[in-house]
């Protein structure tokens, strides 16, 4: 492990005077800044000082990292992180007096900035990777079960499946005439091991599939806009749940109001004891980035709420997407996200249908016993209010 007493392992900066180009953090002198060394642009981050000298950890700057840092969308740790570093000791005037070339395994992690902390404290937590900082929707799993060298095939399949399910179930809107899965897809960034990072770069509408089926449906821009809106709704809902669960056990009344988001978080978080102790979910686009961090205790409270809410009376609001006269059921989409099959007594059902009230696109508020199910949730309706059309 590197220490200031380690023998020098000279680097190209020995004997030079560092000239900061852009100072990103200043406290009695520049502490985090960019500089040019030869043909490379590098990032300096100060981690120690004496009366006469300063110590910096230095790494090459990745494309886009400085802009993301400046905007508070990427952590300083993330901007620095790589497979190798230089440690540089300078005088107060930034003349290099000693330097070391150090691999990631030799660098004490405490000298790096803390994870998930960016320059703008108001925006913390922020992602540690550019993929999260720029991805449409990203999930990162951290824990001792995940290493850079390998991952169990079964675990990889399981975690990818969970993210796939949430993306398909919660992000893609209902599209009339056709299975939504047949005309949409997502483009992924290369999957990263170490901590497993699955980052959706962007959603895709498969125009060929639409043309082949001769479908008359909303333009691709409309579908993409709906996907973005549902992603933002999903992040807002999940943030509310994580904020609550990080402080206390989730009450049943809170759980009843957040059924959809608790279900999504339950899917994304592995069970306790799975050796994955932190899950990060991030979204980003041109105008904003958001991230939620779910630690093991928070995940445990969410899972407890999820198992309780499966037997809980809830009130949900949404839009009817299907009326099945043969089965005397209807399907509605709560919060425009997840579909729920509703059952109610036969006479009430037929009165509402024959009266023209229970029709596709009607806005309804339903109260009843909620049952969480694998494919589609079920609500045994006790009370129903249908908005006048």
């Amino acid at each position: 492990m590197w220490s200031p007493n380690s023998p020098a392992r000279p680097t190209p900066v020995d004997g030079t005077k560092i000239k900061p180009i852009e100072v990103l953090y200043y406290y009695d002198g520049p502490t985090i800044f960019t500089a040019t060394l030869g043909l490379s642009e590098v990032l300096f981050s100060k981690f120690d000082e004496t009366e006469d000298t300063e110590l910096f950890v230095v790494s090459p700057i990745k494309a886009g990292a400085v802009a993301a840092l400046r905007e508070g969308r990427l952590s300083v740790r993330g901007a620095l992180e790589g497979e190798s570093y230089w440690v540089v000791q300078t005088t107060g005037e930034l003349h290099v007096v000693k330097s070391w070339s150090v691999s990631e395994y030799e660098l004490p992690t405490r000298i790096l900035p803390a994870r998930n902390h960016g320059l703008l404290h108001q925006l913390n937590p922020v992602p540690d990777t550019l993929e999260q900082a720029t991805g449409f929707f990203s999930v990162k799993y951290n824990g001792p079960a995940l290493s850079r060298q390998s991952i169990s095939f079964r675990r990889l399949k399981s975690l990818i499946g969970e993210v796939y399910d949430v993306a398909n179930n919660y992000l893609i809107p209902v599209i009339s005439q056709v299975s939504k899965y047949s005309i949409t897809d997502f483009e992924l960034a290369p999957i990263k091991l170490a901590s497993l990072l699955i980052s959706i770069k962007r959603p895709i509408v498969l125009q060929d599939a639409i043309a082949r089926r001769k479908l008359q449906i909303a333009p691709a821009e409309g579908i993409l806009g709906q996907i973005q809106q549902q992603r933002d709704d999903l992040m807002t809902g999940m943030s509310e749940v994580v904020n609550e669960a990080s402080r206390r056990e989730i009450s049943m009344s809170f759980a009843g109001d957040h059924v959809t988001w608790i279900a999504a978080l339950n899917t994304l978080t592995p069970p306790r004891g799975d050796d994955i102790n932190v899950v990060e979910v991030a979204t980003s686009d041109s105008h904003a980035s958001r991230m939620i961090v779910i630690d093991a205790d928070t995940a445990t409270r969410i899972k407890a709420a999820h198992s309780e809410v499966a037997r809980f009376k809830v009130t949900l609001r949404g839009k009817v997407v299907e009326v099945n006269a043969a089965a005397s059921t209807f399907v509605f989409r709560a919060d425009n996200i997840r579909q729920t099959t509703c059952t109610l007594d036969l006479e009430r059902f037929h009165n509402l249908v024959s009266g023209g009230e229970l029709v596709v696109n009607a806005q309804v508020e339903v109260t009843g016993m909620f049952e969480r199910r694998e494919r589609r949730d079920l609500l045994h309706v006790e009370q129903i209010n249908i908005a006048p059309r």
Partner: protein, 131 residues
């Protein structure tokens, strides 16, 4: 060293600096709190000093504990600091936000001649790490 830079440097402190008021946070590496902790690097002749640069006659300070805590998360050596806080009056100095967009919590404080701080600042946060 005195603070007569005000007469020698044009526009120093800068015109947009305003009278300081309210709580100021500053990190100190050791106790007891002494006046030296509230002298600029130019006044002490320490690293990065440059008498021609106005901001180096000022003190780096924070205006909130949130900004302090973030700085400590970003810099290992700051975790070993005692964080001190004190109240200053309007006549005792001028202050201006000098952090760039990436460092909005950072301010530079130019104290008036003769203002003493040591006895009026107290430790509000112990070091969170040791060497």
């Amino acid at each position: 060293m005195t603070t007569d830079y005000r007469t020698e440097l044009a526009n120093c402190p800068p015109q947009d600096a305003v009278a300081v008021s309210g709580t100021i946070y500053r990190g100190v590496a050791n106790l007891p709190i002494v006046e030296k902790h509230f002298k600029s690097h130019n006044e002490l002749g320490l690293r990065h000093c440059d008498e021609s640069v106005c901001v180096k006659w000022g003190l780096s300070v924070w205006r909130s504990l949130e900004a302090v805590n973030n700085a400590q998360q970003l810099h290992d050596y700051m975790r070993r600091w005692y964080i001190t806080a004190g109240e200053l009056d309007a006549a005792e100095g001028v202050i201006v936000p000098t952090g760039n967009v990436g460092n909005p919590g950072h301010h530079t404080l130019w104290l008036e001649d003769g203002v003493s701080c040591a006895s009026r600042f107290e430790v509000v946060q112990e070091p969170t790490a040791t060497r």
